[in-house]
């Protein structure tokens, strides 16, 4: 099926840009209709909104949508924009894809684009009283000095709707009414895994509604990238999702390499794949540990950390960093693998296979764990796709969303591994997906570790890297889902816009749906199994 023709049928004014990835530029007036068609039509069925990126094109403000069909696997990139910089308004697609809800709020927060028919047009990351929109190119960096007054949390929110005459009117929605018993869980809380804040409306122990508040660790990495050269931007990817540091950096390196058309030596691909998988094991051990701790068992937590240290030792030996490794660089890796690397990995894998049984004995098999995780926090497959909860969470709901299988990169099309998919969609399935994935990761490593080919570990790059004009998107399977990087380049040595598809934001967006009717303790267990990393959400 010719997608281009299809799009033109629905929205004839669409233009196509073919620099980098092919992009369809749709006028804002016909955009919503097109999106709805693309999603609902049987032969296109773009049911997965991979990424939603706000853009400041200079004269206009716009949004770029990356759509994907879970049924057919095809993708398309749409762009729409408005030239009204004073009062930009676009149509919301949050009724088509649930994940758009938070993403549009993010765009509103950064660019000031208001989405019509969005039920909750509040800022997502910044404080309500923030001046201006920081991601616009004309934003004055000094316009918001540090404000030390306590934040006032509004219980009201605005919605833009269109009345019968076609005028935009503002409507007020209530988040929590005065009679509700609202309790803050976070930002400083031992089990929100960082500084996430949930405003939770309770009825006794039962959760009626959860409103997640992000931005307590919003560091403006994407904005900073616009003033950094490409090698410098790499340094910040490690700090996004620090438990997928290798994978994040891998994604950005791959993107730049793809844009530049650099051929990467096979040795590098091997090393990167092994490192990615080690990182995955590392992250999943930490997931296990933290889940155990959240559920009140400190002992499994220390077991997890005990074994994680062995991976960290391997990392440190080769990359010189434990948590943040700075290993991948454009065109290869920072340094060749340590002479002991192969040996220590080979020593680690049988050890860990063995010790994993102990994990299952103490935690997985435990009846209390079963009671607390099974049947709790069910996320249906439809919701998972609509929210875009990739990674373990999606696979636990029966959505085979592994990027390593869908869009193979590095060595993943040459190794044999199974994609773990569960269908229950409950907390226990989410937990088991990760536990099983560790075994698969070990399988992948075992296939590669003995066959690392000789060769260069780096392609010499020019000191100043300039990416050709165009827009590019690459994604990798990070430890907790599909981590995508979107780059809009103007041919400069600085990226024009670099956006990371957060793996955690869809998870947080889905928390309200998952926890509804659960208890406080369930929220903690669900939070543990969703396995989000907050700096990755807030960026």
């Amino acid at each position: 099926m010719d997608l281009k023709k299809r799009i033109l049928e629905i929205a004839p004014e669409t233009q196509f840009v073919e620099q980098g990835d092919i992009k369809a530029i749709v006028p804002s007036s016909s955009f919503y209709a097109l999106a709805k068609k693309l999603k609902e039509d049987e032969d296109t069925s773009f049911d997965f909104l991979l990424s939603l990126t706000g853009m400041d094109f200079g004269d206009s403000l716009g949004v770029i949508y990356h759509l994907e069909s879970t049924k057919y696997g095809h993708t398309c990139v749409l762009q729409t924009s408005t030239t009204n910089r004073e009062n930009p308004e676009l149509y919301s697609v949050c009724d088509l894809w649930k994940t758009a809800n938070f993403n549009e709020r993010e765009v509103y927060d950064f660019f000031g684009i208001r989405f019509i028919n969005h039920p909750d047009m509040r800022r997502l990351f910044l404080r309500d009283e923030w001046n201006g929109y920081p991601f616009r190119k004309d934003y004055d960096m000094d316009s918001n000095p540090l404000n030390m007054t306590n934040e006032v949390t509004e219980d009201k929110t605005t919605e833009l709707t269109i009345d019968a005459e076609g005028n935009v009117i503002e409507k007020e929605n209530t988040l929590f009414d005065d009679k509700e018993y609202v309790i803050n869980i976070g930002p400083q809380h031992p089990s929100t895994h960082g500084v996430l804040r949930f405003r939770t409306s309770l009825q006794g122990e039962i959760i009626k509604k959860i409103e997640p508040y992000c931005g307590y660790i919003h560091r403006g990495i994407e904005k900073m990238n616009e003033n950094l050269t490409y090698p410098q931007t790499l340094a910040l990817t490690d700090r996004l999702d620090y438990l997928s540091a290798h994978q994040n950096r891998h994604a950005l390196c791959m993107l730049i390499e793809k844009a530049l058309g650099v051929e990467i030596p096979e040795r590098v691909q091997y090393i990167r794949t092994i490192m990615d998988e080690l990182q995955r094991i590392d992250s999943h051990i930490l997931f296990y540990s933290c889940l155990a701790m959240d559920m009140g068992a400190i002992t499994p937590f220390t077991y997890g950390f005990r074994d994680r240290e062995m991976i960290l030792d391997i990392f440190e030996q080769t990359t010189g960093g434990r948590l943040i490794q700075n290993y991948n660089v454009v065109g290869g890796v920072q340094a060749d693998i340590h002479p002991d690397f192969v040996n220590s990995v080979k020593k680690f894998i049988p050890y860990f296979r063995n010790i994993l049984k102990e994990y299952h004995d103490i935690f997985t098999g435990n009846v209390i764990v079963h009671q607390r995780l099974k049947g709790v926090g069910v996320l249906s497959k439809e919701d998972a796709i609509s929210f875009g909860t990739t990674g373990g969470t999606g696979r636990a709901s029966g959505w085979a969303c592994d990027t390593r299988k869908r869009k193979p990169y590095a060595m993943y099309d040459k190794v044999d591994f199974k994609e773990i998919v569960y269908t229950e969609g409950d907390s226990f399935a989410r937990y088991m997906v990760r536990m099983d994935e560790m075994l698969e990761s070990m399988k992948i490593i075992e296939q590669l570790i003995d066959n690392i080919p000789e060769g260069a570990y780096q392609v010499k790059m020019k000191p100043i890297i300039k990416v050709p004009e165009g827009s590019y998107f690459t994604s990798v399977e990070s430890s907790r889902g599909e981590f995508g990087v979107f780059l809009e380049s103007k041919g400069d040595k600085y990226p024009y816009r670099l956006k990371y598809r957060s793996t955690g934001l869809p998870l947080v967006a889905a928390v309200d749906t998952i926890t509804k009717g659960g208890k406080i303790a369930d929220l903690i267990a669900i939070g543990g199994t969703l396995d989000y990393v907050i700096p990755d959400i807030d960026r």
């Binding site: 005990r306 030792d313 440190e316 010189g320 943040i324 700075n326 660089v329 435990n366």
Partner: protein, 156 residues
């Protein structure tokens, strides 16, 4: 009746899993502990050579370093950790060269990304694996990497 059986069945099954858990922990209880005794083992502590603890400028026995104060590292640094102070002097042949006076390095904001080391064409700076840097005073973290009275190695 079926419910009744199920009740007992789940009860004993549950009991068994609990006992398995208890068995696992008691095994670990008697296992050798893996704790590394940090301050006591300072003498024997092995830290990977590649570990990046702090930036240093190696000096040879003549108190000479390799830095020509070109400033490439300063440009490569993403967050202004390095400031190269230099003065321009004329040498005997009348050629103006930069001479390093103070290589200022702020350990407090360094992110150990290795871009400066990669950028340096003369291998003048490198990362060292020491890690005991905690201080009481923020200013103490801003370090001068070149030693007093050091000079640049003469390249033939």
């Amino acid at each position: 009746m079926n419910n009744f059986c199920k009740y007992f069945d789940s009860f004993f099954r549950g009991l068994k899993t609990l006992l398995v858990g208890l068995k696992t922990t008691i095994k670990v209880f008697f296992r050798k502990k893996i704790t590394e005794k940090y301050p006591e083992n300072r003498a024997t502590l092995k830290i990977s050579d590649r570990f990046r603890g702090t930036l240093t400028m190696p000096h040879d026995e003549n108190n000479q370093h390799n830095c020509v104060a070109c400033g490439l590292c300063q440009n490569a640094c993403p967050n202004g950790t390095i400031t190269v102070h230099f003065e321009t002097v004329e040498n005997e042949e009348g050629k103006k060269t930069k001479v390093l006076t103070n290589y200022e390095y702020d350990l407090g904001t360094c992110i150990f990304c290795q871009l400066c080391v990669n950028a340096c064409p003369h291998n003048a700076i490198t990362f060292e694996n020491s890690f005991e840097h905690a201080v009481f005073n923020r200013e103490k973290l801003v370090k001068k990497l070149n030693r007093d009275g050091s000079t640049v190695v003469n390249k033939k």
